[in-house]
């Protein structure tokens, strides 16, 4: 029923009548063997159901064959996609993946990553990190890659350019004839500033002014809570750019509740291109931030670093504008 004890390399060696060193080399495919030996080892392993003990292995090699992946909120499809992408490429190379959902936690992050760090060969971080922990992270002696987060120097990053994305979106909105453009941002997010800046530059270059509002988080409920304040004011914007799709979706939900039509009464757009954006009504114009690809690249890069290769400090992906119904401005009656 329950096995007495898992077979060790020693058991295999004994059963095969060879030394443990030979078994080790066999298991790690480090050389060739005489057919006889090879066969005996193979048989012994099979009959004993032997598996390498990763802990023992990593004790001597110093490598764990695991990567740590910290995200803000696995429930946000944006992060789920990052995990998915990373998982796919990691798995191909035989790496397992620790995932940690930080749940918007602001404290204890250091401690958490600290604990993780000892268990992995590298870290992919897509979380808010207190400024003071940055140096520590950068110098902890293991590869670290930030994803989706703009940072100069200090650290390696993989990201889709939010400044560029915001520019694409803003230029499109202006072309659509929108004049009163607003941004609903979440200042605590590290990517907030560049999205804001990208919008602002384009909008102001047109001689327009960007109205800026704040939301209290990055989930749909954050958008729902902020919506009334933005939608019911006398100088209501003609189009609202939310800092991400979830927030935009929150605005959408609340607009319906308030009897405000999108895009007839007000336009709406977001960032990320999560799946629901495609099928909500009206479908949501957004900037595809290539979440899954970021995850894939981040993992590739971290594996490259582990392999001792030199990689780009700042791997940048190009965002794509997804034009949908929520910004289909009705022909202006003026």
């Amino acid at each position: 029923m329950s096995e007495p004890r898992a077979a060790t390399i020693k058991d295999v060696a004994t059963a095969a009548g060879v030394s443990i060193a030979t078994v080790s080399k066999f298991v790690n495919r480090q050389q060739t063997f005489s057919p006889a030996v090879e066969e005996r080892i193979r048989a012994a392993i099979a009959s004993l159901g032997y598996r390498q003990n990763p802990a023992a292995r990593s004790m001597v090699t110093g490598r764990t064959q695991a990567i740590g992946l910290a995200v803000m909120d696995i429930r946000n499809p944006h992060y789920a996609n990052i995990v998915k992408g990373a998982n796919r490429v990691g798995m191909k190379s035989g790496y397992s993946q620790f995932v940690v959902d930080m749940e918007e936690r602001r404290e204890g992050v250091h401690q958490m990553l600290d604990a993780l760090a000892m268990r992995v060969d590298g870290l992919i971080v897509s979380t808010r990190i207190p400024e003071q922990d940055m140096d520590w992270l950068a110098n902890m002696g293991k590869p670290v890659i930030f994803v989706g987060r703009p940072m100069r120097d200090v650290i390696y990053t993989v990201r889709t350019d939010g400044y560029l994305g915001a520019g694409l979106l803003a230029r499109y909105l202006v072309r659509q004839g929108y004049r009163r453009i607003a941004y609903a941002g979440f200042p605590l997010a590290s990517w907030n500033e560049e999205r804001l800046r990208g919008l602002k530059e384009v909008v102001e270059a047109e001689g327009l002014e960007l109205q800026v509002f704040e939301v209290d988080g990055t989930v749909t409920e954050s958008g729902e809570r902020a919506a009334a304040h933005v939608l019911l004011r006398p100088d209501r914007p003609e189009v609202i750019v939310a800092c991400n799709d979830q927030v935009a979706l929150g605005f959408l939900i609340q607009a319906r509740a308030l009897g405000i039509s999108i895009p007839e009464d007000v336009g709406l757009a977001g960032f990320d291109n999560i799946e629901p954006s495609r099928y909500v009504l009206p479908s949501l114009t957004t900037v595809d931030m290539r979440s899954e690809t970021m995850g894939e690249i981040a993992m590739q890069q971290i594996l490259a670093m582990i392999a001792g290769k030199e990689i780009a400090r700042d791997y940048r992906l190009e965002p794509t504008l997804m034009i949908r119904q929520s910004t289909m401005r009705p022909p202006a009656g003026g």
Copy 2:
């Protein structure tokens, strides 16, 4: 810049002028110490930045302080919620979490879990498992819990009762006056049978017949692909129950494209209660399968098993019916 070498317990012992055994006991809070020693150890640890090496620790204890969590598709909010719940309770107890996204993979599952098994103290599995791997899983000597999957005996499970949920939903639909009721199922899913059975029993008890269709997967696209076949037939059902919300959403999307109104022309319902179901138009009637709670409970149970406690073989949660617009039948004109 980069530290020469991570501090070991030996370094701490030397620095504090005590033995490594003492440091070990201190770190693991296994007894009390003379104030002097305690202080010296504390100082040494702090100044050296010492952290326990988990690999070394687990070599001797045989425990890894990690749990493996295998899901079908992390992009499906249902699974993301399970991960989230599990992660939350695991973290509180100091357990890290390996997450594996199986991506609907049908082969290599054994191998994958095999590799995982050596790295964890327990496994939470929410994936399709080939029948022949069941015994192996059940007897691999480590706690295993299946989530969301009906199974008698053999193995521990945490699940929300799909049979019950289907019953709730079916009774409600009948009460709504629906007569031609259909189920769009995915036969490969382990939970498919009980959802189907739950519907069928109620429907047939009413003297009605359940139409059954098949979809080719559990994502929105699966629903989209299957929709036309179901929606355009002469004997179109009055209401369609999809095997999960994603598939239902696919039907919804495709119905729009075909110019078929929900709920006016045909009703629609799903299972899971993922977030988008609440805000699509029309909002989707569904059975809340309590994904996040399942994740929490599964982790609690696995930790209990690891602690040597006896737990329920089959932990069952009650589903809740979420009545929304997609089944708001217009007053029948007949």
